[in-house]
Amino acid sequence: MDLLERYLQAVGKYLPAKGKADTLAELRANLLAQMDDKAEALGRPLTEEEVAEVLRGHGYPSIVAERYRPRRQLIGPEIFPYYWLTIRRALPFVVAITVVSRAVELVYGPPQTHIITTSILRLFSVLFYFFGWMTLAFAAIEFFHLRYPQKVTLHSDWDPRKLAKIEPKEKSDLPKHPIADLIFSAVFTAWLLAFPRYPYLLFGPGAWYLSSISLDLAPVWHRFYWAVVALNCLQLIFKSIALFRQVQPWRKPMKIVEQIFGLSVLVLLLRVRDYVVYVNPVTDPSRLRFAETLNAVIHQGLELVAVIATIKLLWDIGQIIVGLRTTRAGHVALI
């Protein structure tokens, strides 16, 4: 019976102190009765292997003990959908606010080193606290909901007549993943805010080379910079609204406005030939040639982007016209 005592000891390790002796005594009585029965059927005492078989059949000690415990969960099935919904709704805003505030800090605060590593660590830290506090808050709601079900009721008086009206199904132009769309936009805005101060975010390692030869962005870039930032911030607002509204009649016109704005900036940039300039006057012909070549390459690149952007704009305008005709034809057919 040494095996049985060892088994009971193992189960007892996982049982709460209250009622432990009672549970183990009952378990012992039941297991002994089962072993007695088996021994009677065999007509002889059980071997150690047979006792082990009975115990194995009864279950692994920690799992057996767990079944005697009251059901434990931090957030139960009734509260969990609200917890998950809140997390999903709040997460993009938490990420967006963290990213943008970090960018503002980088732009207006004192210069920092290792900004990418520290930014990622900051984001992880914010997310850790966000999940922690949300879980604690909902665990508290669960706690009160279980103990005072009359006081903490969930939508017990909801009225189907107050539900939103059916929205027309015009979802084809909506982003498939609006949360990811918002997060990417926030990261892009942060990058946009940060790169004037940290040029290597735009040029990569080339930034150090340009800096070493005293080459900098021409004033033309600064002229459009804040307009582009403002447009991105506006997009962020619209994308935040998109999380809550399935139908966005302003989305298509907004996209066209964005494209026209982008194209206008490109056209104005194409009229300028100097995109990078030396900080101090230079007389060395080889350095002048280098800047000239670099400006020519940037100009050609911008020309290519302008052609693609024009085709895309015309295509999108065409799609809107076709869409309007189809809708009108549909209305006529219905009449």
Binding site: E26, A29, A33, D37, H58, G59, R67
Partner: protein, 117 residues
């Protein structure tokens, strides 16, 4: 669907189906006093095998809920905990049986309609 996935799905659905029925069966069987092991044997003899690691904690839970009463008593020179249906348990069992019969009748009617189609 592969046969392994189908078997797993069947096992999970079977478990769900049995869970509620087992409670009714345990309450019904405990109209006569039993201790854990003999209760398990009695249920198995009636064709309702149940794992001991499921049954014994279930007895504790039903007792906590006031549906069973228990007492320690010596039998065959061993102390055993005997369980019996309480008055409250008997009342709940009656209601559960009405519910179960209702479900059973509905299911039979649905299956009969299916056959006649």
């Amino acid at each position: 669907m592969t046969s392994t996935i189908q078997n797993e799905l069947f096992d999970s659905l079977r478990l769900e189906l049995r869970r509620g029925c087992l409670i009714v069966a345990v309450l019904a069987q405990l109209r006569v006093e039993h201790y854990g092991y003999t209760l398990r044997k009695a249920l198995a003899d009636e064709g309702l095998a149940i794992e001991e690691s499921t049954l014994y904690p279930l007895l504790r839970r039903l007792e906590t809920q006031g549906l069973l009463t228990s007492e320690w008593r010596e039998e065959e020179k061993r102390n055993k905990r005997f369980y019996k249906l309480s008055a409250e348990g008997a009342s709940i069992l009656t209601q559960l049986l009405v519910e179960w019969n209702g479900i059973n009748d509905s299911l039979h009617r649905i299956l009969k309609e299916e056959k006649e189609r």
